[in-house]
Point group: C2
Chain length 340, copies 2
């Protein structure tokens, strides 16, 4: 391995001078600067990140805790999109992304804060991490710059970003009502993630606002999975005809897709028999014609990244709480309700 000492020797200067040149400090004469640069190139020198990190306490690395609520990992199609733009923004500023493995080693020190400190990351991104994680509070307390998505984790240097979930839910309900629906059911999640909670809130507020009929049986749980959505829809379809909703608001597209499958299996057509509206606008949604509320995923990634950069670069920065607007995407699973 080539070190700055090798370069120093060849250039007849001290390692300190090499370091100065490499970091663009001003107090080096043009002549030495050029000589050092030339030799650096010739030798194909590559600074060692660990050594630099040790000396500067800066790793140019963002730690990412990425977890799917269900199948923890890289599969959830919605979070990918956020991640992509996040990565691009961070990359543009010179940061690489470190994904912490979620398999815990036996006996390994665990907890978010511990792992972040261990790797000396400059900032942390929490993506798809459930609020129920026991060590969340340690992270907040550790004072490491941190941005979460869809998780209201707030601390001295920790902010978060959510879509306007309640507003989006109300957009969905507005549209259903506009299309003539009044008996509207809800498929949400039992664990009350922040988005799940807020979407339920929007549902309930809309019920009151439009003075819609309500039944306890219309609130079902799909826990954001396709299978869950299927089960929930089956329950709704099993209701006696006069209690059956004419439309269902699903708090997530995967659940909506499950619900659509359940309908087809029952010989019904989504839209014609019961209308379905989803939330997220995952990439599939387009292919199955799902009407849904879109989250602006690229925007979310970009803004999260910029907020985190701010938090890292300016310690006095007060932690941001950001809300991103949603958008109604009309496809074919919501049809006008013909009042019988």
């Amino acid at each position: 391995m080539i070190t700055i000492y090798d370069i120093a020797k060849r250039a007849n200067v001290s390692p300190a001078t090499v370091s100065r040149v490499l970091n663009g400090y001003p107090d080096v004469s043009q002549k030495t600067r050029e000589k050092v640069q030339r030799i650096t190139e010739e030798l194909g020198f590559q600074p060692n990140a660990a050594a630099r990190g040790l000396a500067t306490k800066r790793s140019w690395t963002i730690g990412v805790f990425f977890q799917d609520h269900v199948n923890s990992g890289f599969k959830h199609p919605f979070l990918q999109d956020i991640l992509k733009t996040f990565k691009d923004v961070m990359g543009g500023k010179g940061y690489d992304l470190l994904f912490f493995a979620n398999h815990t080693l036996e006996g390994a020190q665990d907890g978010f804060a511990a792992r972040a400190r261990h790797r000396n990351v400059d900032g942390v991104l929490m993506l798809g991490v459930p609020r129920t994680e026991p060590t969340l509070n340690t992270l907040v307390g550790a004072g490491i710059p941190c941005m979460s998505v869809d998780l209201d984790l707030l601390g001295p240097r920790a902010g978060y970003l959510c879509s306007d979930n309640k507003g989006g839910a109300m957009q969905a309900m507005d549209y259903l009502v506009e299309m003539g629906h009044r008996r509207i059911a809800f498929i949400g999640d039992r664990y009350s993630t922040k988005p799940g909670h807020d979407r339920l809130l929007g549902y309930q507020e809309s019920l009151q606002r439009f003075k819609l009929p309500f039944s306890q049986k219309w609130i079902t749980y799909g826990d954001f999975t396709e299978e869950g959505g299927m089960e929930a829809m089956k329950q709704l379809l099993a209701l006696p005809m006069e209690e059956r909703p004419t439309a269902v608001f699903c708090a997530g597209d995967m659940m909506a897709i499950g619900a659509m499958t359940a309908m087809r299996e029952a010989g019904l057509t989504p839209g014609d028999d019961v209308s379905i509206i989803g939330f997220d606008d995952i990439a599939y949604a387009k292919y199955v014609g799902l009407t849904t509320i879109a989250q602006q995923k690229e925007e979310m990634g970009t803004q999260t990244a910029n907020a985190l950069l701010q938090l890292i670069e300016d310690p006095s920065q007060s932690p941001p709480v950001l809300t991103i607007g949603t958008e109604l995407i009309v496809r074919s699973t919501v049809q006008r309700n013909v009042v019988g």
Copy 2:
């Protein structure tokens, strides 16, 4: 920050002893061992990865170059699945994953090898990286343990893994022929990625084997994107009726989905009018009823991870070249051809 010196002081031992305890070396008495462990717990000590990495030349990190041929980044739905199992296996062994940002900084030293060395990664995973990348050879030469997926990058410590693309293509062709098709077109990629190339090979070999008719016009390019598949299909549909294929083998599901869209836009039904078979079995495929050749993605992730671990742990290990079998998934976009 708490260091081993702090612990050493509190335990009245030397830092060396603390290090021994922490790393499970045998030559420490039971009594001191327990004392040190207790204090470590009490103080919530977390070792510093950079310092350790500097001293041991081992980072417990796998560098990942992850690039979509088209939209470089996290969006390609197929690679996700591989990544997930890869991450899980690696996590189980104590490795975290470092994703190199692909945005290159102006003036930054670039090249795969340089970045891998810079971050001192123990191994490298190449995922979705095109063969055309200029600095690929430097990586191979650097002697860093490396596994690639769908990229035939071979070196003293670099192996790769591919699906049996040629075999899979032949599976697809077998099935089409079995379903009565003889005029079969191909949608592939212009840039000749390894999978694209091998699938074309399988197509051509099948043509000969079954003595099928062939036309230059039946080989089209979609470059693995949905839009590309759409364009290619449009070209095929524009052929005079007697030249139009009855089935199309698409070298990737995204292209197949694009092709299906093109058909629908032309007022045709995939399967009934022209049969379509894809390759990959991405998650969407199920929802749109696409008949396709499945790659065993989980298997690919696991095997890639295990191979890389071997390469890392045993320097004398000769680099593996792995092939994973494929599987025909029958859905609805291939229908029996009624020979007129």
